[in-house]
Every structure is written in structure tokens, then in C-alpha cells.
């Protein structure tokens, strides 16, 4: 399953978003999820992908951009500590 598919699954299952809306260029901020919901999504992303997101300064943008951002974090997160 691709990162976009896994992200979409979170949005559909947790927020009842219509799957038809979930194209790569869909702005996540335009799905009717409020600011607290966006905070919660970061929690679910951390849980789903095993990554650690910074506390501030995260702009997920579109679904495609968010997936790219997560993909970039994944190798860093699984890198063994020296």
C-alpha cells in the first residue's frame, strides 16, 4: 500500500471523508477537518508510519505533498542511532 493510500485510509476511516475527494492535489485543509482535527491527524500519521513529527511548523498541504513529506521522514526515523 502506498503512502497516499495509507493516508487516505486514515481520512476515510477516522473522519468519514468521501474517498472520491482524495486525489493527490486535494488540499488537506479543505476537507472540513478543523484545526484540532489536523492536530489529531498528525498523531495518527505518527502512529501509522512510525515517524516522529516536529511539534510546530508542519504544513501538510495537499495529500500528495503530505505523502512526500512522510516518505522523506521514514528513512530518517528508521536509521539506527549511532
Amino acid at each position: 500500500m502506498t503512502t497516499i493510500e495509507r493516508l487516505s485510509r486514515i481520512l476515510v476511516q477516522r473522519y468519514k471523508v468521501d474517498p472520491a475527494q482524495l486525489t493527490p492535489d486535494q488540499q488537506l485543509g479543505s476537507l472540513g477537518i478543523d484545526s484540532l482535527g489536523m492536530v489529531e491527524i498528525l498523531f495518527f500519521i505518527e502512529e501509522e508510519f512510525g515517524v516522529h513529527l516536529p511539534s510546530e511548523g508542519i504544513a501538510l498541504g495537499t495529500l500528495g505533498e503530505a505523502a512526500k513529506y512522510i516518505d522523506e521522514l521514514i528513512p530518517a526515523s528508521i536509521e539506527p542511532t549511532p
Binding site: 477537518i33 484540532l36 498523531f43
Partner: protein, 411 residues
């Protein structure tokens, strides 16, 4: 001063999730106290509680539900029921003149407990993102205000076991003074986590299990009483400016006539006769009501050694010789102690009982304690006594005592 009507009652309680069901069970003396079956209940000395039949999923969409501790879920659903029953169109009025007043003793105790488990037991690095919102004590009141866009005062009272009575009393004062037209007032409690139950057990206030009938373990005023049983639930009332209620043709349950508030200020748990009596007198004074005008009492009646003797003595002090002729109902015997919601549930049951002209029984009272020698309406309801007024008492750890006086509609 304005008169204050009760135009709606919402109950999500161990005795049922509607006024009719709860009153029916209370009248029949059907106890909601049970042995609970949880992964941790065998680690409790007496795994007893009075639970509510309630699934949050049936009332809230998943994203909203994740923001609501059970205490808020119960409160919002009880408020919906009360507002629906009052048939009041809040959207059509000045909502700055509608307030929310909710009592809760433990707030989001279940979520707090869950967070501790994740952090300390499971070694998680994170807790749920909404842990603050789930656990904060004012969440139940806040969610009711948000659901109905109520922009008047939104207040939470946490005075342990008198929280809901204080909420209703403080709401009454504001409607009475004309500061607001309507108050959504009551209490909610969801304390049945392992941590909370263990804490109450440690204080040695919980009842031991009746070996022949677990549901009869709470025995207010009885010689063999051994303590309280924890319960969960919410009870919310709609208090409304009397004239407004009449004008719109509202169906009126009754009228709040008085509210007394005072403090023992002597011991963190041990009640005092002087403190309880002073609160009853303050309630009478607040509405300029003679003690002789009180037809019935809904007692605090926890089933603990300390409370029931002291409360009996306080009633004697206030009512004198007449104390022996005022029927007293101790309904915690069957719905348990809802802590910060108990005062609202008990006032609601008392009002509903007045409307039906029934005196609710104090169950499991085979042999009264020697110093509990009043008329507790033992084991069987009485009909047709003609009681029109009730005094409903709530006394709390911390010493904050609250007494409400209400009458059935028709006076």
C-alpha cells in the same frame, strides 16, 4: 425576584435513560447496582457499581466522539433529552441569556486513567492528542454550550458530592435574579475506572458486597449498612423564568423554591450535624419557606456510617418533633452514588415522584440503625400521600453542603 420553573429533565442514569423509566424503577425499588465484570474487577474488594446502558457511538460521530470523555458524552445526551423535553427553541432566543451550569466531581477520570496506563504501564511516549480536552473538568458544560451555541455563563462546579446540587442552586439564583432566562443545569459523572474505584476503596467508604444479593449492597440508614456504591450517569434540568415558561405554554415539572449552601469547615470527610442543619435552614430561608411546608425529603443517604447518622440528627434539629412524620427517601440504595451528578439525579427523581404523588422507597432497609429512627419509607413506595414539596440534600467531602427545595407544579 422571579419564580423558576423546571421545564425539562434529561436522565442518562443507572435507573434508565428516560424520566419514565427511571421513575418506574425508583418507585418499584429495582436496584441498578451489580457486580461488574472487567479485567480488573477481581482486584476490587467489592466489585460493585451502578452502570448506565450507554454507547457513545450511538450518539456521536467518530471524530467528535474521540474528543469526548464518557462524562461529557453522558452530559450532552442528558442535556439533549432535557432541552427536547422542555420543547424550548434555543435557536430562536437571545442565547446570551441562556447559561450552562454543570457539576462533576471527577471530570474526565476515565481518560486520565487511560493516559496514566499508556505512560506508566505501557511505556508509551505519547498520550492521545486530545487528552487535555478529554480530562478537563469543564468539558461537559463546554460541549453542551457548543452544541446549542449558548453564549451566556458556562460554569462548572466541582464540590465533590454536592457538585450538581450546587450547579442547580447557582443556576436558580441567576434565573431568579433575572440575569438569564434559561439555565441548563445538572451534573455528570463517569468515575468507574480502576484507579478511581481503588481510590474510593482505599478511603474505606465503599460498601461490602451483600452475600445473598449484590444489588442490595447499599443500605442507607440500616443497622447493617457498610458504605456507598459508586455509580455513573448524568441528570440535567432546564430551569426557566416562570413567566416565560407559562407564556410559551411549557409543560412544567415543578418549581425550585429554595437553595441553601454552607460549609462544615471542620473536617475534610466527616460531616457535622451543625453544618447539615445550617444548610437545610439556609435553603428554607432563601425561599422564605417554613419547615412545616416541607412534605418530604430526598436524603443524601449514602449508606456510610458517618453520613446517615449525622443526616438523621440534622433533620431532627431542623424539623424538631415533626421530623418523625416527614417521609425521607434514600434512593442511592438503588442508583448508587453518582458523586458530582447525584444531586441532580435525586432532585429529578424527587420532582418526578411529586408529580406522580408517590413517595420513593429507601430499599434494603430491613433493620434501621438505632440512631436512624425516622420514617425512611422503607422498601415500599407509598402512593397518594399528597406531598407537594421536597427538600433534596447533598453533602460533600470537603464540607460544601447544598440543599434544594422544590415543589410540584400546581401550587
Amino acid at each position: 425576584m422571579k419564580r423558576v420553573a423546571v421545564t425539562g429533565i434529561g436522565l442518562v442514569s443507572p435507573l434508565g435513560n428516560s424520566c419514565a423509566e427511571a421513575l418506574d424503577n425508583a418507585t418499584a425499588g429495582r436496584s441498578a447496582i451489580r457486580r461488574i465484570e472487567t479485567p480488573w474487577s477481581d482486584r476490587l474488594a467489592a466489585p460493585l457499581a451502578a452502570c448506565v446502558r450507554f454507547q457513545g457511538e450511538e450518539h456521536f460521530s467518530p471524530p467528535r466522539l474521540r474528543m469526548l470523555d464518557r462524562v461529557s458524552q453522558l452530559a450532552v445526551v442528558a442535556a439533549r433529552q432535557a432541552i427536547g423535553e422542555a420543547r424550548v427553541d434555543l435557536a430562536d432566543m437571545n442565547r446570551e441569556r441562556v447559561g450552562v451550569f454543570i457539576g462533576t466531581g471527577m471530570g474526565g477520570a476515565l481518560s486520565t486513567d487511560e493516559g496514566y496506563l499508556a505512560l506508566y504501564r505501557d511505556g508509551c511516549e505519547r498520550v492521545k492528542p486530545f487528552s487535555v480536552l478529554l480530562g478537563m473538568t469543564n468539558a461537559p458544560a463546554a460541549w453542551i454550550g457548543i452544541e446549542y451555541d449558548l453564549t451566556g455563563p458556562n460554569l462548572t462546579y466541582s464540590t465533590a458530592c454536592s457538585s450538581a446540587a450546587v450547579s442547580i442552586g447557582e443556576a436558580w439564583l441567576r434565573v431568579r435574579r433575572g440575569e438569564i432566562d434559561i439555565a441548563i443545569a445538572g451534573g455528570s459523572e463517569a468515575p468507574l475506572s480502576f484507579g478511581t474505584m481503588k481510590a474510593w476503596e482505599a478511603l474505606r467508604t465503599l460498601a461490602s458486597e451483600d452475600p445473598s444479593d449484590a444489588s442490595a449492597s447499599c443500605k442507607p440508614f440500616a443497622a447493617n449498612r457498610s458504605g456507598l456504591v459508586l455509580g455513573e450517569g448524568a441528570a440535567i434540568l432546564v430551569l426557566e423564568d416562570w413567566e416565560r415558561a407559562i407564556e410559551r405554554g411549557a409543560s412544567i415539572h415543578g418549581e425550585i423554591l429554595g437553595y441553601g449552601l454552607s460549609t462544615d469547615a471542620s473536617h475534610i470527610t466527616r460531616p457535622t450535624v451543625a453544618g447539615q442543619a445550617a444548610t437545610m435552614r439556609a435553603a428554607l430561608r432563601s425561599g422564605d419557606i417554613a419547615a412545616d411546608a416541607i412534605d418530604s425529603i430526598n436524603a443524601h443517604g449514602t449508606g456510610t456510617q458517618a453520613n446517615d447518622s449525622v443526616e438523621t440528627a440534622a433533620i431532627k434539629e431542623v424539623f424538631g418533633e415533626r421530623a418523625y412524620r416527614v417521609p425521607i427517601s434514600g434512593t442511592k440504595a438503588i442508583h448508587g452514588h453518582l458523586l458530582g451528578a447525584s444531586g441532580a439525579l435525586e432532585l429529578a427523581l424527587a420532582l418526578l415522584a411529586l408529580q406522580e404523588d408517590v413517595l420513593l422507597p429507601t430499599m434494603h432497609l430491613e433493620v434501621p440503625a438505632p440512631d436512624c429512627d425516622l420514617d425512611y419509607v422503607p422498601n415500599f413506595a407509598r402512593r397518594g400521600a399528597g406531598a407537594r414539596t421536597v427538600m433534596s440534600s447533598s453533602f460533600a467531602f470537603g464540607g460544601t453542603n447544598a440543599v434544594l427545595i422544590a415543589s410540584a407544579y400546581g401550587d
